[in-house]
Point group: C2
DNA sequence: TACGCAAACGATAACGATTATCAATTGTTT
DNA sequence: AAACAATTGATAATCGTTATCGTTTGCGTA
């Protein structure tokens, strides 16, 4: 959950992490990217293109740290690699186009509460859930 | 979708595959296992314990073939590996205990139809979806 | 039943994403 | 500015899975 009034520097501090060049650069990148959902490799590639000398290991490490401190959300779509996005505080689920890779977001309160009901009916204590709809997006239909 | 009246031999034939020893053995194992959801490594380990000389590569290959021909369903829970289960014809989703690994199944027609609505609202053509609730099962709660 | 041959097998190398290692560097506190 | 733990980046290692390839096998045909 991100308080948008916090600067990158403050967010990193709040996470209990030192404010280093790689961390600042990666957080800024996530905030400024057109693409909301980015993989570690994509973040790395963007850094390289910006002539940043940041190692791939650092990218993975920082993304994981940001996830653990709540700055980022990690998603394991069925693409073989994790993707990350800033935690904007509002839970949502995803529609993923299996043709072009486009990701759309949605939130449906009814689905959420029905999930909770299901969970209760099974005496299950929900911690998290993942709902992804796979298919063809509007522009990928024939 | 499995026609339960078909023997293993017939199911494999229907899939357009030769009836080989490894395929028969793996299909039978899936049908006779207490555990509904099994990973490739688990299938391999069970075969080894039964003194079957079936290679790990063959296990992966056969599971994938069975999936492609509709005999099995593959799930990518957030466990780092795929798990497989017989396709019993009735779609369902899962509750996964992150403590003991137990998997429970559920089906909620309301959730299904709401997902369809969401999909429609986004001009999205649904092909598949994956809904998994993560948490603590009844026996893992303090 | 034996033959022929594509299909399938199993050992193992290779792969892609991710994590671990470790010497050198850097941020923060004094 | 010194001191020192935290962090970095190059790279080795790991893990689940897939590709390779010489050998074996299922099965349609003679
Ligand atoms: Mn999202
Ligand atoms: Mn199931
Ligand atoms: Zn698309
Ligand atoms: Zn449990």
């Amino acid at each position: 959950m991100i308080d948008k009034t916090l600067s990158e520097r403050e967010q990193i501090r709040e996470a209990g992490l030192k404010v280093t060049h790689p961390r600042m650069r990666i957080l800024r990148l996530l905030e400024e990217s057109e693409q909301i959902h980015l993989s570690a490799e994509e973040v790395y590639r963007i850094l390289i293109e910006t002539n940043e000398e940041i190692g791939l290991a650092t990218v993975y490490r920082v993304l994981t740290q940001f996830e653990q401190s709540g700055i980022l959300k990690r998603h394991n779509f069925e693409t073989g690699h994790s993707v990350f996005e800033l935690d904007r505080g509002e839970h949502h689920d995803h529609l993923l186009c299996i043709k072009c890779g486009a990701v759309e977001e949605f939130h449906d309160e009814q689905i959420e509460s029905l999930q909770y009901k299901v969970s209760e009916a099974h005496n299950f204590k929900t911690i998290d859930h993942s709902l992804t709809i796979y298919g063809h997006c509007k522009s990928c239909q024939v």
